[in-house]
């Protein structure tokens, strides 16, 4: 467990920037807030000794995926309002009430005798331990790892099937 100070700062930042993602008017600011949220979460991971999860969070999410989002926003020139109406006050209030109730409910549920999580060793969550879980011969997660590859293949083909322009459309109409 890292320093509690670290937890409070990174946690507060994560929540504030997450609010920024949904409240910012400009898509670009939303994307940048998301980057800040992901980075603060990475700090939380690292303070919990989950170094690999933290590093992956920075490299994959804050790095690769956000760059893609920012590129898309810039290329499509989505600056400022997209002409959509601001949320009605009643809807916004209802949303806030639901969120607050959800938050309080969750806190209450966890405050009332939550089971104590089992203790973990110092190795837990480190890159070495995760690597052994995923790839070591005899590890049960090898099988799940193989399944992920099929899942990604399906997602890839699906993305191409949806995104590919259809030059054959004219021919289709004729046949």
């Amino acid at each position: 467990m890292g320093h509690p100070f670290c937890f409070w700062i990174a946690g507060t930042l994560a929540i504030l920037t997450a609010l920024g993602v949904i409240l910012a008017r400009s898509p670009l600011y939303s994307a940048l807030s998301l980057a800040a949220t992901l980075l603060s979460t990475a700090v939380l991971f690292i303070s919990l000794q989950a170094h690999l999860a933290g590093a992956v969070q920075v490299m994959v999410y804050a790095g690769a995926i956000l760059v893609l989002i920012v590129f898309t926003v810039m290329l499509l020139n989505l600056r400022g309002d997209s002409g959509e109406k601001p949320l009605r006050p009643a809807a916004a209030a209802a949303g806030m009430v639901v969120c607050a109730a959800f938050f309080l409910g969750l806190t209450a549920f966890f405050a009332v005798d939550a089971p104590t999580p089992p203790a973990v060793g110092p190795e837990f969550g480190t890159a070495g331990a995760i690597g052994r879980l995923l790839f070591a011969p005899g590890s049960r997660f090898v099988y799940a790892f193989e399944l992920v590859s099929v899942l990604l293949l399906a997602a890839l083909v699906g993305a191409i099937a949806l995104g590919r322009p259809g030059p054959e459309q004219g021919k289709d109409a004729a046949s």
Partner: protein, 502 residues
């Protein structure tokens, strides 16, 4: 460690995965106009997988460690899972056959259509066999990813895109909630194996936090089976998706959702009793929760179906209603409850595939999907209208159709429980069947009583679709020839699950 028994158990999945790869390669070799020929490959792959499943199911001695699981418990190949897998294979084969001539899928995109169908089927099979929280999540995602794409498969059609987009957004929220619940369960117990999670919770299950985690998981699974209040995507997706995909999703996706729901409920919910006091003592009151959700689901589904003008939307809400009946049967947690669910899915497959096939034929001819197209169909095309009437009557559950037998077994399993709570649940289901009578008979009335519209076009029924419809209708209207055998197989398969429960 990997053993030969592991490979034997997973053979159907390997077959599906290999076929999937072959379809992808062949698709590139064929010219656009010929790409739908990959359907034959997909069909033979599914048939081969089905034969392997039957072999596993019919093995005189069940595979060793069938209930304990293969691949160190990641993959459970008990006979209930195998039975569900057969239903998935049937649904996939049906979607290939109906999709072959559908005008909604363009010729050049048939290869990818078959690829995605196989990927979804593979995801379903893994769902039925998931023995670990990680596998549950991955398999559900695999099915979801493929279904999102299939739902939006019609190009330049705003409805199809809208349905797919709603599906993605709702699905993303549901799977987010599910992985949240899974992570809390893992945090409490430190294990991901379903049985071990249940045992780990046993000491602490009175904690509201465990209940919360369980509820979060239920959101993700409820989304898959279109349980109220997570059913909102169903009408839009069913309406927008190509009809063969709709039929596939309404049967396969629902069955897969129930397969994994049953396993999670029975292994996590039932074992989470202090001292292992069986299901009656389960600290998470999942039976009561599920019973309330079941009544809500059937009532909302059936009431919303009334007044729908689009046949696909009507069938979507009706499928929500059917999910309610099946959820009610889940609460029994007995072997006869599970076997009645298995039997119902076979019946549901016959009548839903048939009804959607008629809808495909009619909307292919008219280019739209409205109940006005069915006015006077009985006078113009008695064969089409007669088969459709049979499917609708069976969906209501009137004798002597297969739907009646299915509902009979569902309700018997409920009544057998003996307590007044279950009688109340049965009563709610019966009342709902009466409500559903209204909107199904409305279509039948339209077909046989109303005058045909003068500009109405003739629906062309080809040779193969005609044979398929006739066979489906015959099986639906005369279930006595095969019903006993199917029920025996279902009870044999469910008995296995019951042993898993103890």
């Amino acid at each position: 460690m990997l053993t030969l028994a592991d490979l034997d158990a997973i053979a159907p999945e390997i077959t599906l995965a290999v076929t999937l790869g072959l379809v992808l390669v062949l698709d590139l070799l064929f010219r656009p106009a010929e790409r739908r020929l990959t359907g034959w490959l997909a069909l033979s792959g599914v048939t081969l997988a089905a034969s392997q499943i039957v072999k596993n199911l019919a093995a005189a001695a069940p595979l060793p460690s069938a209930a304990a699981g293969f691949f160190s418990g990641m993959f459970v190949a008990d006979s209930t899972a195998s039975f569900f897998k057969l239903i998935f294979c049937l649904a996939a084969a049906g979607a290939v056959v109906i999709g072959y001539r559908s005008s909604e899928i363009s010729r050049a995109r048939h290869g990818e259509y078959h690829f995605l169908l196989l990927a979804a089927t593979l995801g379903m099979c893994f769902m039925a066999s998931a023995g670990d929280l990680v596998m549950v999540y991955l398999a559900v995602e695999m099915l979801s990813q493929a279904s999102y794409i299939l739902a939006g498969y019609i190009r330049n059609n705003p409805r199809s895109s809208e349905g797919a987009l709603k599906y993605v957004i709702y699905g993303g929220v549901a799977s987010g909630a599910m992985i949240f619940g899974i992570s809390i369960l893992y945090g409490f117990t430190g294990v991901t194996d379903l049985v071990l999670v249940g045992q780990g919770l046993a000491g602490t299950a009175s904690s509201p936090a465990a209940l919360m985690a369980f509820l979060f998981m239920l959101v993700g699974l409820g989304f898959k089976v279109a349980m109220v209040p997570f059913h909102m995507w169903a009408p839009d997706v069913y309406e927008g998706a190509p009809a063969p995909v709709t039929a596939f999703l309404s049967i396969g996706s629902k069955a897969a959702g129930f397969a994994v729901l049953l396993r999670v409920l029975f292994s996590v919910g039932a074992q989470a009793a202090p001292g292992g006091g069986g299901i009656e003592a389960a600290a998470i009151p999942w039976r009561e929760m599920l019973a309330v959700l079941a009544v809500l689901t059937m009532t909302v589904g059936n009431l919303s179906a009334i007044g729908q003008r689009s046949l696909k939307r009507l069938l979507a809400f009706s499928s929500v209603g059917h999910a309610g009946y099946l959820l009610a049967a889940c609460t029994t947690a007995t072997a006869s409850g599970v076997s009645s669910i298995l039997f119902y899915f076979v019946v549901y497959f016959l009548m839903t595939l048939g009804a959607f096939h008629v809808v495909v034929l009619v909307s292919n001819a008219t280019g739209r999907d409205s109940d006005a197209d069915y006015a006077g169909l009985g006078w113009k095309q008695p064969f089409l209208a007669a088969t459709m009437s049979i499917f609708l009557v069976s969906l209501v559950g009137l004798p002597p159709t297969a739907g009646f037998l299915g509902k009979w077994y569902l309700f018997t399993a409920l009544v057998e429980m003996g307590s007044w709570k279950f009688l109340l649940l049965t009563l709610a289901a019966l009342l709902n069947s009466v409500i559903s009578l209204y909107y199904y008979v409305y279509i039948i009335k339209k077909m046989w009583i109303e005058e045909p519209a003068p500009e109405g076009r003739r629906v062309v029924v080809g040779f193969v679709p005609g044979i398929l419809l006739a066979v489906l209708a015959f099986l639906t209207v005369y279930p006595f020839g095969y019903g006993g055998a199917v029920l025996a197989a279902a009870s044999k398969a469910a008995g296995d699950r019951a042993s898993f429960l103890r």
